[in-house]
């Protein structure tokens, strides 16, 4: 093992070690949640620090099992930031709903290191370990409010369907291994063009796409998302829909780049397939979201649509597309986590107070909160000057650059559809008054306020930073 090996996985190691520390300290020190929080945040900040430190390097470790530096480390920073925001939000939420146990933090850190491993993976084996590490933590976290039936339901559903998707993923890997003769992406890039049975190879690629599309909750593999997001603790739903999605996209990008880069004939078919998935996700997600009365379900369906927007970047199959996805994910992290944070704040102890009707007149009861939520909604719709717009711009630009203007047009049409429900929430909050007295929701603790502030500031300024991120990657 060389220095390279350690450096390549250094961010993952940091977070993973801290997850173990949290577990051990929890066993030794009884019921000290604030210590656990501090340790988790330190671990995640450490992860970010190490990721920034190794970002300029181009690393390849463990005989091509993992890579590091550049885009990969940017993903690390993204996962760790999502983790920190979630830790900040978790205290208020979990205490109010009576599920504040210290295992939460261990699991959260484990899930984060799993996500990071997915981004670092350059081999099917590492990828699969990462996927499973992240997913198993998610299964547990989804059912974390164990006294609530719907939380249990979410965990079981997610587990059953997730296991199924892992099967697809693994089968795909097996087929590709059989044709290219190796499990590394390097093998794919080197041998894909000369495989003897291209049909088997493409079947493998298709099965992997199915597995990953499940993880990003893309049409037609999105059915689990609304049920799981609705039942899971709201802060976890926020984490799953941002970091979880981002992890799957990181794997998607790196895997597909190796296929696109191999010079194998027929990648245009993959692009078309992804474009179809993108269009399906955008339209099905947005149209179904219109029919929702529950805000969490609405956000879940809309997250399907957002997966669709990002699939545009994959379909474009260009560096522009990859950059668009990363940029969109950063924007999405702030706006989606922020929206879930507010939903969690307004959710009451029994897990109610989640419908559009419950948001009526919110601007009078809690004007600041309503305004912040409105910003997230406008941003999710993709209206400038908020983050979501800049993300979409990059993605649409990638599509047009790849001569898929029709895909960009589908994207903008889908955005118009999404106006209906995002602004429906704004209408409820600002333009309507509630008939009966509404529950106040939880009080805004210091940590939650900080997390919300970060999310709002991120949503407002991310549009002015694309050049910085661009420079970071090149």
């Amino acid at each position: 093992m060389s220095e390279h090996d350690f450096l390549a996985i250094a961010p993952i190691t940091t977070v993973a070690v801290f997850s173990l520390i949290v577990m051990l300290v929890d066993a030794l020190v009884k019921k000290n949640t604030s210590l656990m929080q501090t340790l988790s945040v330190v671990g995640l900040l450490g992860g970010i620090g190490v990721a920034i430190w190794t970002l300029p390097k181009s690393l390849n470790g463990f005989n091509g099992l993992v890579a590091g530096g550049g885009m990969t480390n940017l993903f690390d920073i993204l996962f760790c930031s999502a983790g920190i925001l979630t830790v900040f939000l978790a205290k208020d939420y979990l205490e109010r709903l009576g599920g504040h146990f210290n295992e939460f933090y261990t699991l959260l850190l484990m899930a984060t290191s799993g996500a990071m491993l997915m981004a670092h993976a350059t081999d099917f084996i590492t990828l699969f370990v990462g996927v499973e590490l992240m997913s198993i933590c998610f299964y547990v976290l989804a059912g974390f409010l164990r006294r609530q039936v719907r939380s249990n339901e979410a965990a079981i559903k997610y587990f059953l369907l997730g296991a199924f998707a892992s099967g697809f993923l693994l089968y795909g890997m097996a087929l590709i291994y059989g044709t290219v003769g190796g499990t590394g992406y390097a093998d794919v890039a080197a041998n894909a063009a000369t495989v003897e049975m291209p049909f088997i190879f493409w079947a493998g690629v298709a099965l992997m796409i199915v597995g990953l599309a499940f993880k990003v909750a893309a049409f037609p593999f999105h059915q689990w998302a609304p049920d799981v997001y609705e039942g899971a603790p709201t802060v976890i739903a926020g984490f799953m829909s941002t970091a979880g999605k981002a992890a799957a996209f990181s794997a998607f990008i790196i895997f597909l780049n190796s296929v696109y880069g191999s010079g194998v004939e027929g990648t245009d078919r993959v692009q078309i397939l992804l474009a179809v998935l993108a269009v399906g996700s955008m339209f099905i997600g947005n149209v179904t979201a219109i029919a929702q009365t529950n805000v969490k379900r609405m956000l879940a369906y809309s997250s399907v649509a957002h997966a669709g927007y990002m699939l545009i970047g994959l379909a474009a199959g260009s560096p522009d597309g990859s950059f668009g996805i990363i940029y969109y994910l950063i924007a999405y992290l702030f706006m989606q986590l922020g929206a879930f944070a507010i939903v969690g704040l307004l959710e009451n102890e029994k897990g109610c107070n989640l419908t559009f009707d419950d948001y009526k007149g919110l601007s009078k009861r809690r004007p600041g909160l309503a305004m912040v939520m409105a910003i997230f909604m406008f941003s999710l719709t993709g209206i400038p000057p908020f983050a979501g717009f800049f993300g979409k711009y990059q993605l649409f630009k990638a599509a047009i650059g790849a001569e898929m203007t029709w895909l960009a047009i589908c994207g903008v049409v889908a955005s118009v559809i999404s106006v209906w429900f995002y602004l429906g929430l704004v209408i409820a909050m600002f333009f309507r008054d509630s008939e009966e007295k509404q529950a106040e929701g939880g009080t805004l603790g210091g940590l939650s306020t900080a997390a919300l502030a970060v999310a709002v500031v991120g949503t407002l300024v991310i549009g002015f930073l694309p050049q910085a991120i661009y420079d970071l990657l090149s």
Partner: protein
């Protein structure tokens, strides 16, 4: 610097207002009034510093933003946008003052939205970067959405949603077109959203693609104008918006559409503009007549004024697509006119609504006796709107019709002839309105003298400046026409050169080869010309060459 000051004063004041806690009405009202008035005064400095003999963009500012995509904070003004900037700052001051007494609910929020709205509209008129333009274009939607939705009338939710979906739906295709154009520019020096560069690149696109680009831009602008048949959002939004909201909607926001048609459709896609001139003129004339007919049958005064906007903006569109200097000049001045006179009409309707809480024509009658001052102002606004010689409306309508009549680019003079009937229709519905409201017996006891108050001093004070401008433009329009003349000539010049040749594709080829030469020669030059480059480099003395003089080199610090 002055340009940036004008743009950012409203935003700055809005920022200060956010920081001041509580909803103390008076503080916020005063701050908003001071902010808008300051923006107006600073914009007057622009007026005096502007060199109207120069057709190029002035006060140009260029800060880098996303350098890899050549997106920048690029601002600048030509004669047309200068007039519209002044209209914006002026009407915003009026609108804020007019809300002084009529808005009492959530005042802090209200005035913050008003100021953000001003920021957005000024940005639209100042932006010289397609990406930046798009951001401001969409930014305007949010404050107006809240103004209609929170402070609007009974059907405000329906109206605000319709307004939002219509405008956003239209503009998103423009976004695709903007990106497409940027990507097209990669063939001639890299992805760019610099409007001045695009003005020389975009006309080179193949005609087939250009037609689609033209339509994508035109859809977004025509919804905003609104051009028939995309106008259905307008009566709802105007009627449901609060008074100041209607004033700004009609007074300024509709002009964003017509401004866009000139700045983007005419200047970026001259060949397609020629191609579609007849088509859009047909829609414009239908708008003139149909809008007038609809206005005639309205019973709600505010709705009537709203439909009259559809008709008036039809003249503007017709003037633009006549693509003659008279037509474009008339369109520009008519934009200002419509802002003043229709804005004033909406104000007056708002005043009477505050008193009587009704806008039905049948609820009034005989008001001339009980409210003489009000009646006088209403008469001025009505006559200005009808186009009575001596008041502003006449100048604009006359010029646009002359333009349409003499245009070489429209296939028939029937556009002008049919359009002219709109003037008669306008007289019919506006005079009927005036007669029903102000003459005849008083049928409702609430309208009797003493029971209904005439205009207060504040209300009169708000109307007087508008009247001054209405008369000024009517008597001496040259003060204003002069400012935009060089710019209008430059716009028309581009089109005129093209129309000289019958074969567009050959023309495009020729320009393309010229472009290549120009590119080699001007690699280190900071800014391309506002017109097409080939003429310059090849030394041809085309008809429009004089007005297409190259603009001054950009000063990164912002110059004046």
């Amino acid at each position: 610097m002055i340009l940036l000051a004008t743009l950012f004063i409203p935003l700055l004041v809005a920022g200060i207002m956010i920081l001041i806690p509580g909803a103390q009405g008076k503080t916020h009202r005063t701050l908003a009034a001071v902010g808008t008035a300051a923006a107006f005064l600073v914009s007057l400095v622009l007026w005096f510093q502007y060199d109207s003999t120069n057709a190029a963009f002035q006060f140009v500012i260029d800060y880098p933003w996303i350098t890899s995509l050549d997106v920048g904070f690029r601002f600048g003004l030509d004669g047309m946008s200068l007039l519209l900037v002044l209209l914006t700052t002026f009407m915003m001051t009026i609108a804020v003052l007019s809300s002084w007494e009529s808005v009492r609910d959530r005042e802090k929020q209200y005035y913050i939205w008003m100021l953000i709205l001003e920021f957005g509209m000024l940005g639209v008129f100042m932006a010289l970067d397609t990406f930046l333009f798009y951001i401001f274009w969409e930014l305007v939607l949010i404050p107006m959405y809240f103004l209609i939705g929170v402070w609007g009338g009974r059907d405000r939710i329906y109206a605000s949603m319709k307004f939002f979906i219509y405008t956003m739906g239209g503009s998103l295709l423009m976004l695709v077109a903007i990106i497409w154009l940027g990507a097209y520019a990669e063939g001639s020096g890299g992805f760019t959203t610099d409007l001045q560069k695009l003005m020389s690149i975009a006309p080179n696109t193949a005609l087939d693609a250009q037609k689609w680009l033209f339509l994508a831009f035109a859809l977004s602008f025509c919804i905003k104008v609104p051009v028939f048949p995309l106008h259905t959002w307008l009566p709802d939004a105007h009627t449901q918006a609060p008074t100041a909201g209607s004033v700004i909607l009609a007074g300024v926001m509709l002009k964003m559409g017509t401004y866009g048609l000139i700045r983007f459709n005419l200047q970026l896609f001259p060949q397609s503009s020629l191609h579609f001139a007849d088509f859009i003129s047909v829609l414009a004339v239908i708008g003139i007549i149909y809008g007038a007919l609809l206005a005639m049958v309205q019973t709600d005064v505010k709705r009537l004024v709203a439909y009259s906007s559809v008709a008036h903006l039809g003249f503007v569109t017709l003037g633009i697509f006549s693509m003659t200097t008279e037509g474009v000049q008339g369109a520009v001045i008519q934009m200002v006119n419509h802002g003043l006179s229709t804005g004033m009409l909406f104000l007056l309707v708002g005043y009477i609504y505050d008193r009587r809480h009704t806008r039905q024509m049948s609820d009034f009658g005989g008001l001339a006796r009980s409210m003489p001052v009000y009646a006088t102002f209403f008469a001025i606004a009505v006559f200005a709107s009808v186009g009575l010689p001596g008041l502003n409306g006449f100048v604009g309508e006359y010029l646009t019709l002359i333009g349409a009549f003499t245009s070489q680019h429209l296939s028939t003079t029937w556009f002008a002839i049919l359009g002219a009937t709109g003037v008669i229709f306008a007289a019919v519905y506006l005079l009927i309105l005036f007669q029903r409201m102000f003459f005849g017996p008083i049928t409702h006891p609430e309208n009797e003298k003493g029971k209904i108050k005439d205009l207060s001093r504040l209300e009169t004070g708000i109307l007087v400046p508008i009247v001054i401008f209405i008369v000024w433009i009517g008597i001496h329009p040259n003060t204003f026409l002069h400012v935009s003349e060089a710019s209008s000539r430059a716009v028309v010049g581009v089109v005129e050169e093209l129309s000289g040749s019958t074969d567009y594709t050959a023309e495009v080829q020729e320009r393309k080869s010229g472009q290549a030469i120009a590119d080699e020669g001007s690699e280190n030059r900071a800014v391309p010309t506002s017109g097409p480059m080939p003429e310059e480099t090849e030394g041809e003395s085309a008809p429009g060459a004089q007005v297409l003089a190259p603009p001054p080199v950009v000063q990164p610090e912002g110059g004046q």
